[in-house]
Amino acid sequence: MAETLRISQGEAGGVTIAISGPLDLETAPGVWDQAVRAATTATKELVLDLTGLGVCDGVGVGLLAELDRSAPGQTRLDGGSDELHELLKMARLEKGQDTRAPSVGFFSSVGQATAALLATIHALISFTGDVTAAIIPAIRTLNGTRLREILRNCVRVGADAVPVVSFLGLLIGYILSVQATKALETVGTTSLVPMVVGFSTFREFGALIAAIILAGRSGSAFAAELGTMKVTEEMDAYRTLGLNPIVVLVIPRILAGVIVTPLLTIYSIVLAIVGGSIPLLTKGYSFGAYIDSVFNSVVTADFAQAMVKGLVFGLLVAMLGCFHGMRTGRGADAVGASTTKAVVAGIVAVLIADSIVSTIFYNLGY
């Protein structure tokens, strides 16, 4: 506690608060509420009597400034050093000035979120237009450097993803096979397991595995790279050099996604089929018979479906990664936010596209 906090109410809204002894981190919190309450009743004049004030640190100055702010009337200082007077003058806010962010109600929050969503959709449409418009210039200006950039991205998106796609493909195939065996055992038709594995990997899981790996590895990497380039103004440097960042940076990444994802899809299908054979080999199936059964159960349309999905998923994930990278704001957390958005948006878009493509193929009779 400060040694003394003496409050005297004068006539007609005048209040005097006399503080003696130290007013600092130790003592100020003990008298804070009492002093502020008294200051708010000073409708005419608040007199801060500082003649007996001892050490006054930043917290003490904070309390004195708060008393000044809280008093509806004028504030007068009695005593205190010239430095303290000057500090309080600098620290003075307009009476009743509230600089805190206004609180946002429920309906305002919903409105703001809707506006932000619409702005994102608008920006995505605009970005799609920019990318489409940049395809021709990108082809026209295709040179060794750009080709190397596309190949570099293909290696990063595709070749570098091979180990994890192999692992995931094998595991998904194995799990599918185990679960199908268990289900079909109950009706005595385990011979249909190769068909289930082949059908589901060709039509669904091959492309999905490739797309999810792409979203987790490359979509996020695209967003982080482009986002960092935006934060460090490299993007502006491209523009001021007369180069369109969409042509130089975005198109090579999207092309890499579109070229590599169908290839990764084929690779993951092969690995899933191999993984699916493991439970059956332990039950005495021969590998040759298993492979025959798998390929007898799928048709060209299934392969076509896998390729269409691979192409569409690759396009969506790469585009959304680049889109969120290009929309990165300022500050350290902006790149992290863009990366997260790129991965989440990529996976959601892949699942939506998957349902649409599957429905189209089904309605076409495949």
Binding site: G58, V59, A65, R69, L87, R92, R100
Partner: protein, 258 residues
């Protein structure tokens, strides 16, 4: 002599003795000796690559020097336990080149953060103290804004307010003028001089901005990357006029050298 006359040469707030800075086998600086007195505005200057930013990191114990002793307010800044380092850092506020404000927090939250972590003040009290610090640097109207929403000059001032949050005895500034226009830079210089006078806070400023040095520095430590040592220590005008070292005189008077 400090501008506010608070200098007491017998109790330096920073005491650096025989400091040697090295990155592996590569020696950057050696034989560095200086004292900073309480209430002083002390500049560390020198040419690019002379190690002045590394020197400030040695002072706050972020990087250990290759050899030598550093005392901050009597505390050993070279050999310390984590607890002792925490105690040392409570006496020091640091303002980095780009402000280094936490981008997910508002300006006010940035200033209140040290108060939240290291004091028992409640939210209302923290906010009042934080607003007072922001008012001192003229940033109260921007309290609720995010760092990304304010200008470079405002970021630097917000960083000063955060560095002052816990009433440190010593505030270290790394290149405060970097990226600022001359007017904003002058405003910042004036702010530092005013705060030094009113709060009796010691400021160590790492900068090679001659205009700032000559307008607010009490003393200057000048480092030379080529000779890998300090080549001048004293009031900047004295160094410019009467340093025995011609490099010092020409560094501080580039127009005449040209």
């Amino acid at each position: 002599m400090a501008a506010n006359g608070a200098t007491t040469p017998e109790t330096p707030i920073v005491d650096v003795r025989n400091l040697r800075m090295a990155f592996g086998p590569k020696v950057v600086l050696e034989d560095i000796n200086f004292k900073v007195h309480k209430g002083e505005i002390f500049f560390i200057g020198g040419n690019s690559g002379c190690g002045k930013s590394t020197l400030f990191k040695h002072i706050v114990g972020l990087i250990p020097p290759a050899a030598g002793e550093i005392y901050v307010d009597g505390m050993d800044a070279v050999n310390f336990t984590p607890k002792e380092h925490q105690r040392l850092l409570r006496h020091v506020g640091v303002s980095y080149q780009g402000g280094a404000l936490f981008s997910s927090m508002s300006i006010l939250e940035n200033v209140c953060m040290p108060l939240r972590e290291f004091t028992d003040l409640n939210a209302k009290e923290r906010e009042a103290v934080g607003m007072t610090k922001l008012s001192l640097v003229g940033l109260a109207p921007a309290a609720s804004k995010l760092p990304a929403e304010v200008s470079g000059g405002m970021l630097k001032r917000a960083a000063v307010a955060r560095a002052l949050a816990l009433d440190p005895d010593l505030v270290i500034f790394d290149e405060p003028s970097a990226g600022l226009d001359p007017l904003s830079s002058s405003d910042l210089d004036r702010l530092i001089a005013t705060l030094s006078r009113l709060l009796s806070t010691t400021f160590i400023i790492v900068s090679h901005e001659l205009r700032s040095i000559f307008s607010i520095a009490d003393r200057l430590l000048l480092l030379d990357a080529a000779r890998k040592t300090q080549v001048g220590l004293g009031p900047p005008k004295e160094l410019r006029e009467s340093s025995p070292d011609s490099w010092v005189r020409s560094f501080l008077n580039p127009g005449a050298a040209a």
